[in-house]
Symmetry: C2
């Protein structure tokens, strides 16, 4: 029941991409330096987010990652399941039907009660994460920090 490290990375990066003005691409090297992360490993998670259709990757100079759709239409659940996988945490092995105490087929018309309870809890978990969008998270970022990030990625052209 441990959550992958990449979930935090993916969420922070998605959050940052939602802060930059428009569709300005940010390369993964900059993202990695911004948070002090290992660039090569971050690549793996950004790739997962891209495959899930949350980010859009642009190759070549001035390329990078940008949100594939508005921050109001991306939920925390989207990011989490893109990185972590959307598989259920509990895979019922139906052990009630095995061994010397196996239940008869006619006793298994209803789904396993244990699996049902966990599925219900998992549903609550997902619903709670689905209720929060990336946009709402941006609003919780201190304004001074948000301004600094906007200035950093908005229009700095050295040389």
């Amino acid at each position: 029941m441990k959550l992958s490290e990449g979930v935090e990375w993916g969420l922070h990066c998605t959050l940052l991409l939602a802060e930059v003005p428009a569709g300005v691409p940010v390369p993964r090297r900059v993202l990695a330096e911004h948070y002090g992360l290992a660039e090569a490993y971050l690549a793996k998670h950004l790739q997962a987010l891209t495959r899930a259709g949350l980010l859009h990757a642009t190759p070549g100079p001035n390329g990078g990652f940008r949100l594939a759709r508005p921050a109001t239409e991306i939920t925390v659940l989207d990011v989490l399941e893109a990185v972590e996988g959307a598989a259920s945490p509990f895979a019922c092995q139906e052990i009630r039907r095995q061994g010397s105490g196996a239940a008869l087929p006619e006793e298994c018309t209803r789904p396993c009660a244990i699996a049902s309870v966990i599925a219900q809890a998992h549903s609550s978990w997902r619903e709670s994460l689905r209720a929060v969008t990336i946009d709402q998270l941006v609003e919780r970022v201190p304004k001074t920090l948000r301004a600094r990030n906007r200035a950093k990625f908005g229009g700095d052209a050295p040389t």
Copy 2:
């Protein structure tokens, strides 16, 4: 975000122990055979449940495991966290304070929004599991199966 295999084993075994009449101990060998599980590995999980104070282990002949308290006072969450560990699935690394885009200390007076959202979801998950007791699960077991289990462990004395 994968749940350990032992959670299912622990829940089924706890459920079965709640079905046997009173404080009749059931050895792990019988439990393993009842569900077709590996006895040596099951031992590890039963041990965890015992350490958590959910089961009581009796050594020696006619020994085994029994519930340490009534099934009405044991929740699914108790069993799950006893086997899986009660640690939070998300350990915030505070990466917002690291790298070139590090937030200033005065910008971090409030806890990380990402960690807060996940903590909220985790709370929903736990609350959902805490609401169901082992006793309630027993009631969902088909009566015919329950009767068979009671007869199996209640009073069969060959020889």
